[in-house]
Symmetry: C2
Subunit: 352 residues, 2 copies
């Protein structure tokens, strides 16, 4: 019998996660409330409390370019992206472990700057790093696991949105992608001009900051509690609004309509898109790494939503209506998911 081998790049990340779930998700302890497939796994630790756990890795040459990203920023980002997954369960981060793979010639000063960035992020999120592993590696690899805690009844999953619920978003989107574009342009200029290069990033400090040091929206949790709001379904926007709304709809058995004109964008994001003659909606819908929160809200709670933090960008609909985006002219077009795929060439701008 001849054997055919399939490279993993043919499956993509979500295909791989499906395989992982099939192969590994067999046994289930009664304490395990949620396994592979949401932002984080959930297991009960006492009668009324649960822990959530999530893990996310940053690989040099795939997620970042060491010559290009300050180590302190990288440390903060490695923590923030994991905290974002914990927050996306409506839980608070408590503990983290860090695996650091590094080339033998990496300087101790760089490692310390990385650790300092992590410590800074942990302090700001009220959590601590409790363990780790260091190892040699040809490329830098930073793998972080974060454990968070919540009252079990407070947990919010991807499932739970109902037709009629409002689609809401924290902050603004497309900024991290805009920042990445600026940084890539600057790098290209630097390579072309050599010593004559003068960095020109003042006009884009905000979007560059969003790319280099994204923040997990832990402030949303406090706002909801204070306003007596409880989202029906929740996810963080790591791969772009378009991709995440598909996850929410798939888990909840809904469709959704997104109002393109309601998508919150920062003026610098708009300027960056305009400068490149690019479609701003594309930035806002498909740009990844914003780490904002996307959630389903009962319309009755809409008047309690803090307008400084959140925007209503659409509405959940019955599944058969699909997932569509309505443009300025009122025209509706189907919204595809296409988020990031690190396994496909060109899938991640940072590495290419």
């Amino acid at each position: 019998m001849s054997q055919q081998f399939t490279p993993v790049s043919h499956l993509g990340e979500f295909g791989l996660i499906d395989r992982m779930r099939t192969r590994l998700g067999q046994e289930a302890s009664p304490d395990l409330l949620l396994g592979i497939g949401d932002d984080a796994a959930v297991y009960r630790i006492s009668d009324d409390r649960s822990h959530v756990v999530t893990t996310d890795a940053l690989v040099e040459g795939v997620h970042f370019d060491r010559s290009f990203v300050p180590m302190g920023h990288l440390g903060r980002k490695a923590i923030a992206v994991n905290v974002s997954d914990v927050v996306a369960m409506n839980a608070r981060p408590r503990y983290a472990t860090v695996t650091l793979g590094m080339p033998r010639n990496l300087s101790v000063e760089m490692v310390e700057a990385l650790y300092d960035g992590m410590a800074e992020a942990c302090a700001s999120y009220g959590m601590e790093i409790v363990g780790g592993d260091t190892t040699a590696s040809p490329q830098m690899v930073i793998s972080v696991t974060v454990i968070g805690e919540a009252r079990t009844e407070d947990l919010i999953f991807r499932r739970g949105a109902h037709p009629g619920d409002l689609v809401c978003l924290s902050g603004n989107v497309g900024a991290a992608f805009a920042g990445l574009q600026i940084l890539l342009d600057q790098r290209r200029e630097m390579q072309e001009l050599g010593p004559r290069f003068e960095p020109n990033i003042e006009a884009y400090r905000y979007v560059i900051g969003r790319q280099l040091t994204p923040e997990a929206r832990i402030d949303a949790l406090s706002s909801w509690r204070e306003s007596g709001i409880r989202p029906h379904a929740l996810i963080d926007v790591s791969d772009g609004v378009a991709s995440e709304i598909h996850h929410l709809c798939a888990a909840s058995g809904c469709g959704a309509i997104i109002e393109a004109t309601s998508l919150p964008v920062h003026p610098e994001t708009a300027a960056a898109a305009a400068e490149r003659v690019a479609d701003l909606d594309t930035y806002a819908l498909f740009g990844g790494e914003d780490y904002e929160l996307l959630f389903a809200l009962d319309p009755d709670e809409a008047d309690r939503l803090d307008g400084d933090l959140f925007t209503v960008i659409g509405q959940f609909t019955p599944a058969e209506e699909g997932i569509v985006v309505r443009g300025e002219d009122g025209h509706e077009i189907p919204l595809t998911a296409s988020g990031y795929n690190h396994f496909e060439p060109g899938g991640d701008g940072a590495a290419e």
Copy 2:
């Protein structure tokens, strides 16, 4: 001011862990019973129970050679080495997360074999994989985090050995190192002989198995409980007996004397050492990756120790007597720690 940079290879793994502890171990929640520095971190989850968490990564080219190690074995090993750290706290593993970095051309079949090996290991240890991350990476990287559970009063730390306590060991040591030597010899022969190569490993199946698929000694926990034994201090042997006894002594403020003639070795380990005209004690004391348990036992409990599982190999002494090994002739020599150091050239046989 001129700046001097220090490559991480100058610090080594333990130096890096010290830096990590200094930079990161600042804040401490009252629930955190143990942070960076033991086999696993420990945090309280309820009045009487605690969780332990540990993380360990395997990197292609550093810890394994993909052309050389079956993926199923690698999956089992990645789980086992982490479970071993949980067991070394006298806790039982419950949940794991897995980060898998892989080259784009890796076959789906290899990934599935890896997952199957992990699932097999998890089933045998009574635990489950609850989450993970997959990403592209130039080299394969497998980072596993395992969360275990114990009654808080049952936890055993590295500290706690008293002078007079017996130094005890599960199973036998030096076997994984012997297996590695055999595998490296076979690879060399294969490269030299090409198609004329015939594998010759039948005589060394046991030690090769110890290298490729080590088992965490979770059986020791049940044995102790059934015999009413409670070790005073405990560690797993990942970097060699010599290195681990130094950790136990440092944490407990003790010295120790190890009887070279008491070190348990398997006949295949002895044969592998003899074939290479190598010192068997060197294999037993410095060979890494055995994942046996090394512990301090109250002499009053010695008669309850299951002789099929455990061996008494020495005694803890006052700190000022140092850490020594007594040879067959009764002569005592100081025992150095020198375990593995992945950051030093030649520090890890598998990669060189």
